[in-house]
Symmetry: C2
Subunit: 462 residues, 2 copies
């Protein structure tokens, strides 16, 4: 695939100018420059500000065209009335991509200025991200050109957001939840670079395993392109979308918010289905699923086993499995015999495999080994209810050990219920690449997304 130079410069700029860089903490022009520097970007950085000689220890320039070296990316933070002027100057300088943070364009009815901005960009062969965005981050090169939280964790989940406030708030949330990201892209008004452009680049990015998108609406007339491009992208990588504005009233709210035509939800549903895009309905769900794609292999089939120490969560998991079309294995007599040996006499070797409340680390380890060894089983759900005799943190160690021993050869998800030590255990599991969730339901639903994608990929290529 031929990658557009401007889009490549968006994710891999060799140098960045911050036009509207400021010396005053609290100003967006300060926050973005500081994030770029403090997060460890290795390329050259040039603050541009007509009234300053130096900002954050760097020589400042009056205008981009005065910068002696090449400039790949220009982040624009100046007030709306100066944007066209600095864009023109950037164009003359040979900048490849404009990242226009400034708002006050189409989203407030100022369509004309936005059209002019794109016109200027086209004239000089530049691409435009925005306007009306919080910026872009691409962690493999330590790039955080946003005014959001700084210390993004590195990982294989890319997040493209058409909402600014939600996107920036979710940045902070990923840090707290220890969710590693490869890229965070604020789409804003999508005057030029849109969701599809960003996804297309990320589809071939070796640092990204799964693409998540918060979408409010596509530009009119771009639906067919979305389906065609996404169909090709989803063959390479899973894409999870939240489409907000799916209700009648929500669509109206979305239209007034981003100015995008929300369109009927059935159309979007059809587009997602045709293009193999997975649709989530809450931000929780989207990242729950993404964590499975980020860490687990694609399964070799659909047969799933549930291993539990509590009957109740086993039942809840079973309900969720059936509702999400996760196929629960009926174990063969031989396999049942093997599970029988991992549990007390009053346990159950059926599916859910109930190790009982008496289960300790060894029971889980043995049952997990049986599950990995058996050809009948393709997917594994491990459930745990806090009991007095099994410390969840110790169980987490055991699970990590066994999964490692079998080289992550089958998808594993964990659901746990309990207090603070149970959360510590889940954190430990997640840190070791095993997705763990509060409760049985979320774990099974996340696995269901993986299996759904497996089904889609098998059909496509099979």
């Amino acid at each position: 695939m031929v990658v557009d130079e401007g889009v490549r410069a968006l994710f891999n700029p060799r140098s960045i100018a911050v036009i509207g860089a400021s010396r005053h903490p609290g100003k967006i022009g300060y926050m973005i420059l500081k994030n770029i520097l403090d997060y460890g970007y290795k390329g050259r950085v040039y603050p541009v500000n007509p009234k300053a000689d130096e900002i954050l220890g760097l020589k400042a320039y009056k205008r981009v065209s005065e910068i002696p070296d090449e400039v790949d990316m220009a982040v624009i933070v100046v007030p709306e009335k100066y944007v066209l002027e600095v864009a023109e100057d950037a164009g003359r300088k040979g900048v490849k991509v404009l990242v226009v943070i400034t708002s006050g364009f189409a989203e407030v009815g100022n369509v004309e200025a936005e059209e002019k901005l794109v016109e200027i960009a086209r004239k000089y062969g530049m691409r435009v991200l925005g306007p009306n965005i919080f910026g872009i981050a691409y962690t493999p090169i330590n790039l955080n050109a946003t005014f959001g939280p700084r210390d993004l964790l590195k990982g294989p989940i890319a997040f493209i957001s058409q909402s600014g406030a939600l996107g920036i708030a979710l940045m902070g949330w990923t840090i707290m939840e220890e969710i590693g990201v490869s890229a965070i892209v604020s789409m804003g008004n999508m005057s030029d670079i849109d969701v599809v452009d960003a996804a297309e680049y990320l589809a071939d990015d070796p640092n990204t395993k799964v693409i998540t998108i918060y979408l409010e609406g596509l530009k009119p007339g771009t639906g067919r392109r979305f389906v065609e491009k996404m169909r090709s992208i989803t063959r390479r990588k899973p894409v999870i979308v939240i489409k907000a504005g799916r209700s009648r009233r929500g669509a109206m709210a979305a239209a007034s918010h981003t100015g995008s035509l929300a369109g009927s939800d059935q159309l979007y549903s059809a587009a997602f289905k045709q293009s193999g895009v997975l649709r989530a309905y809450t931000t929780d769900d989207m990242f729950d699923w993404a964590r499975v794609f980020a860490t687990q292999p694609l399964p070799g089939g659909e047969e799933t086993i549930i291993i539990t120490n509590g009957g109740g969560v086993g039942v809840l998991a079973t309900d969720t499995a059936e509702e999400h079309s996760v196929k629960l294995l009926d174990p063969s007599p031989g396999l049942k015999e093997k599970f029988r040996e991992t549990m007390p006499w009053f346990g159950s070797p059926k599916n859910p495999v109930d190790l009982t409340g008496q289960a300790v680390e060894e029971n889980y380890a043995k049952a997990l080994e049986v599950a990995f060894e058996s050809d009948e089983i393709h997917n594994i759900v491990i459930l745990y209810c806090r009991t007095a005799i099994l410390d969840p943190r110790s169980l987490a160690d055991t699970i990590v050990e066994v999964v490692k021993k079998y080289g992550n050869s089958k998808p594993v998800v964990v659901g746990m219920v309990g207090g603070i030590d149970t959360y510590e255990a889940m954190r430990k599991l997640n840190q070791n690449g095993i997705p763990a969730y509060f409760g049985a339901e979320r774990a099974v639903a996340a696995l269901a997304a993986l299996i759904k994608y497996y089904r889609y990929i098998s059909k496509k290529h099979g």
Copy 2:
């Protein structure tokens, strides 16, 4: 209503014997005695153990009948083969209720012993909770007669669990989440006291505002009683049920787990609907909703306003509202004018009321005041996305202040997105009796449950 003496003794025993109390930490007979003592139960406590003179500083008795005073409740922790014998002894002593922790009865096919246990109880006029349970807690009298976590927080949510492992794990979870509970009742095999008995008592308990139930299945032939009693209970208090085993395969798992006949899910759906019971589908949902009932007043109507600083979460909230039949107000021109004064010029006074990413405490305070003052509005949803200019903890203080000023006169729920400080803000809100959730969706869904109950109550009494 005439309250059964045995059921009253279950929640308000004046004295407790622990039959099978143990000196060995790690033993259930030790854990329960220790929980009873350490959680601060004020009544008399008698350890019973034929081989000990003293346990945890208390004089131990060889058998219940040797205890010189009256004994209201006997907690039985002895091995299954001794249960009938000690039950007989307790009966002779005049014990009012047996709390039978011991397992190995109907749940493993030992139906005969369970029937005999009930027979003995009937002979002496005792009631039985269990067998096969983790115990009972009733926090208003500092009673924690369980082998679960000790430091339950006091509050108005009662939780009845038919699953042992899940129930005990959720005890720990409520502590971590700072969810205050009035009672936690483990139902186990329901040989005598069942979900309806417990709910009926709690319906008249002044310390309980909402009853939550994890249910796997009713005993055969008790469906009609469930509907009749619950119909009366839900007029007094909201009841939220998770019915596990709703799928075909889940029902089979439930049947093998508790031995209860799961029955068709349609029957349960119909029973819940007829009796005004609210049905949740995950434990998360159940407690999300319960927190609204625990703290918020019933609304005066259905008209709901959303106040946000982010368009994206506003759209997600709108979608959720429509999907959960939450009626979003179309504000009158006058009301829109008032909202207009609370925001920057590029905000939106429509519903969602968008204060924009520029919003600070004052904008929220003013908008919230407008919402409380307006007769058009009955329910308030406050949304917040973490921004650089508004600290969520400070916003939490503002919200608490305004809600207090208006005397909690309208239901308020809060949804927030962000990192660790946003969680601190949500915690602060919850501590001050304002239910706060991660994300827009959960907040709106929780409010939807309150409005659904309001609708039910209005119809019943209207």
